[in-house]
């Protein structure tokens, strides 16, 4: 069910990109912090990744991405001994849709869907669908180069529950192709 939904949304994004007039294609990298939310299994870690922003029409950008987070270990004391649990790693790929407002400095709420894999030493890997929502701000200091900052809520569904992360990242992109 979840895979069908994921495929349907990706197809919708692909159809959207083919029926619209493409304006530009770029490539970007980003990095920042990944903060687990109400999760005793992980602590704060770092996140890095790449994005391929495809500007379809004014105000709308579809952005395939790959992201990987190394989450911090958790320490707990039981009896006289302090034990450490691997915080795990969250890796995902998918696509976000950005709605861009403003000229010069731009604000862009975004939403997306992806396939995520959560790995932790001593546990079975979890592979499932995740959803992203967030808000970004960006500007272009020089032609073809853009920089941005984003706050993102990432929720990876795991059966009847989910693992959630707040990601705060800084990124830069380069415009590879630009068409009128």
């Amino acid at each position: 069910m979840m895979k069908k939904m994921f495929a349907t949304v990706l197809v919708a994004l692909a159809l959207g990109s083919t029926t619209a007039t493409a304006a530009s294609i770029g490539i970007g990298a980003f990095g920042g912090a990944s903060i687990p939310i109400v999760n005793d299994l992980s602590s704060n870690g770092s996140q890095f990744g790449v994005r391929v922003p495809v500007n379809l029409v004014p105000l709308l950008t579809v952005e395939p991405f790959f992201a990987t987070s190394s989450l911090g270990n958790v320490e707990e004391t039981f009896g006289p001994t302090t034990f450490e649990r691997d915080g795990g790693k969250n890796t995902g790929f998918g696509a976000n849709v950005l709605f861009t407002f403003g000229t010069g400095v731009q604000f862009f709420p975004f939403a997306g869907i992806g396939s995520y894999k959560i790995e932790r030493d001593g546990s079975e890997d979890i592979t499932d669908i995740g959803y992203n929502f967030g808000l970004g701000i960006g500007f272009s200091p020089i032609p073809k180069i853009g920089v941005n900052a984003r706050g993102e809520f990432n929720m990876v569904t795991t059966d009847e529950t989910s693992q959630k992360f707040a990601n705060i990242t800084l990124g830069a992109s380069y415009s590879l192709v630009s068409m009128p």
Binding site: M1, M2, M5, V9, A12, L13, G16, T19, A20, V38, N39, D40, L41, V57, L59, L60, V74, E76, F78, G79, P80, T81, F83, E84, R85, D86, V97, F99, A111, G112, I113, R120, D121, G122, S123, I129, Y131, F133, M155, T157, T158, D159, E160, T161, S162, Q163, K164
Partner: protein, 186 residues
């Protein structure tokens, strides 16, 4: 912009309909103290412990919202005070049971955790304190399901720590804990 609205609405709808209340879920750490110390010896080759998760406040507070079990480990210090190198394995029964010996446990209960290896008495490895990661890796899927079923039920089950079948040994377990990470709604 109609396409944009459709895509945004689709993503939001997909997220809400497929996740339900998962948006307000959490991973909550809870631990259960085992008797300190307890000993597995060749008299019956096992030690029985009845577990009542209701004694854990984090469990009792979230019992009605429990959705799953993210992580499970047996932590403690295992010391072999008599005999050759061997293993320790933990079995589980739903509810309260009382098997007569280790063979009855192996025949009737479900493996939950292990086996963890321990060195011969007097050797450098006679005392073992497994890391949390190593212990979590010894969890057995069938036993985990019983823990989850019982946690979603009345929270009571019986565990048996069993030594090497047929061996002559005495394994003391100090500061033993069952450590669970519960998936629960908020």
């Amino acid at each position: 912009m109609k396409t944009a609205r459709w895509i945004f609405s689709g993503l939001a709808l997909a997220a809400l309909t497929s996740t339900g209340c998962v948006l307000t879920s959490a991973q909550i750490l809870a631990s259960f103290d085992l008797p300190n110390p307890f000993t597995i010896d060749a008299t019956d080759n096992m030690e029985r412990v009845t577990v009542d998760l209701n004694r854990i406040s984090d469990y009792a507070d979230n019992k009605d919202k429990l959705k799953g079990l993210s992580d499970f480990a047996v932590l403690g210090t295992f010391t072999n005070t008599l005999g050759p190198a061997g293993t320790v394995t933990v079995y589980i029964d739903a509810g309260t049971t009382n098997h007569a010996n280790a063979q009855a446990v192996i025949n009737n209960a479900t493996k939950l955790w292990g086996p963890a290896s321990i060195g011969a008495a007097g050797s450098a490895t006679e005392t073992v304190t497994l890391s949390w990661d190593d212990s979590a890796a010894l969890l057995d899927a069938a036993g985990k399901q019983i823990v989850l079923d019982e946690a979603e039920g009345d929270g009571r089950f019986t565990i048996y720590t069993v030594g090497t079948p047929g061996g002559t040994y005495n394994v003391r377990v100090d500061d033993g804990f069952l450590v669970l990470v519960l998936d629960a709604g908020l």
